[in-house]
């Protein structure tokens, strides 16, 4: 190897100085540098290898999941029958109240090829891109609940920004109480999801489900986000600190679904 290498040992201090300067410059100005294209190239280069590495994990998981899914399908078939009847009733009632009919959103399946992030995954590379109809801003969910949004899209791949990203914010409500708040990822005192901006006067209980409120344009209403894990009092004494346990299993992400939120009339060009 020494024959190929430059006589770098002599210049190692200068080289280190250069790297340190570059790193510091990147730390200072890095957020202003557009790196989306570079990430796209990286994701494209790594995606075949990611698939190979994940194959063994996928096979083992598929075996385990198969029996569970059979049971779940049976339960859901029974549930579906009940919901079908309820749906017909709901449709008739909405018609009577002159409310617009509810429209389901098509789900595009995608495979999680890679995860980014340190303690908890904060981004995921998905195996679907513009060719599969994925757009920037699309909502990413699992069968358990909300995962995040599509942040960057390339022809055959995309990158989802998860709820655990430092800049993520989701307008939520606590189911059946209409208590509203904004879900954010907090790192202190330990990494967790927190429903912020809930006044002390609102009464909540541990275990209640948190869903998207539809108050923001990014997420449609009614997607399961998680459940209340712990309730505390804000240091300011004005609001509650509500820790939310995410419904989606962030440590076991294999398959997700991408859905396009409905476009509001004022968003249309």
């Amino acid at each position: 190897m020494g024959g190929v290498l430059p006589p770098a040992e002599r210049h190692s201090s200068a080289l280190m100085g250069l790297y340190a300067t570059l790193s510091l410059l990147l730390l200072i100005m890095g957020d202003h540098i557009p790196v989306g294209a570079l990430r796209g190239i990286g994701a494209w280069m790594f995606s075949p290898f990611d698939r190979v590495v994940l194959t063994a994990d996928r096979i083992a998981a598929a075996w385990r999941e198969n029996s569970l899914l059979h049971l779940q399908i049976t339960r859901l078939e029974l549930e579906n029958e009940r919901l079908h009847v309820a749906g017909l009733e709901n449709e008739s009632l909405r018609h009577m109240l002159q409310l617009p009919p509810w429209r389901g959103m098509p789900l595009k399946p995608a495979e999680v090829l890679a995860l980014g992030g340190e303690s908890l995954p904060s981004s995921a590379t998905l195996s679907a891109g513009t060719r599969q109809g994925v757009k920037e801003g699309d909502v990413v969910v699992t069968e358990s609940g909300l995962l995040g949004r599509v942040g960057e899209v390339w022809p055959t791949l995309s990158r989802a920004v998860l709820l655990t990203d430092a800049n993520s914010a989701v307008a939520c409500e606590v189911e059946s109480t209409s208590v509203l708040g904004v879900l954010r990822f907090m790192t202190l005192p330990h990494p967790h999801l927190e429903l912020t901006g809930v006044p002390l006067s609102d009464t909540l209980r541990v275990g209640q489900r948190v869903i998207t409120s539809g108050m923001s344009r990014h997420y449609p209403r009614g997607i399961m986000v998680g459940s209340i894990h712990r309730i505390g009092r804000d240091s300011g004494g004005l609001t509650q600190t509500i820790e939310v346990a995410p419904a989606a299993m962030l440590s076991r992400l294999r398959h997700v679904f991408v859905m396009t939120p409905p476009t509001l009339p004022e968003d249309k060009p």
Partner: protein, 170 residues
Amino acid sequence: MRAWIVLLSFAGVVLLLRSTALTSLAARGVVVDVLAFATVVWALRHGASWGASFGFALGLAADLDAAHWLGRHALALALIGYAIGRLSRTLVRDSVRTQFVLVLIATVLHQTWSVAFEIGAVEGWSYLAQRVLLAALVTPPLGVLLLVILRHGTGQPLFGHVAVDARPAP
């Protein structure tokens, strides 16, 4: 050319592991700092310049994978690579104890630096300590075990013997 292929392959494998199996493990509380480990191995084998270069390149790739703080891993890993590369001429590099201590130090430094960015305030010190401790408990034994297996597998020392001329490079 072969050196570059080896370097790129090694870095590729490390990044691949980090973005697949190890991220899932980290979410379950098992923190394996493969970046620090790989930088230590490379610096021990190839010295300060290549250690710093490898650390910088690997760190930059890891930074690109994250959404924020470009340069965070690059700086820490370049420094670790440089320091261990400089030290490597004066150490018995194939000693398990030496490897253990070096990986431990590199893991602690790298984790402390990178997790501090995520936390961003002094109040999170307990989480930082917990995270660093977890990484320090898992990474050195696993790393050294891997090196021992590789050494037995190849049948020869991975890093060679200490240089007779132990003077640092001018």
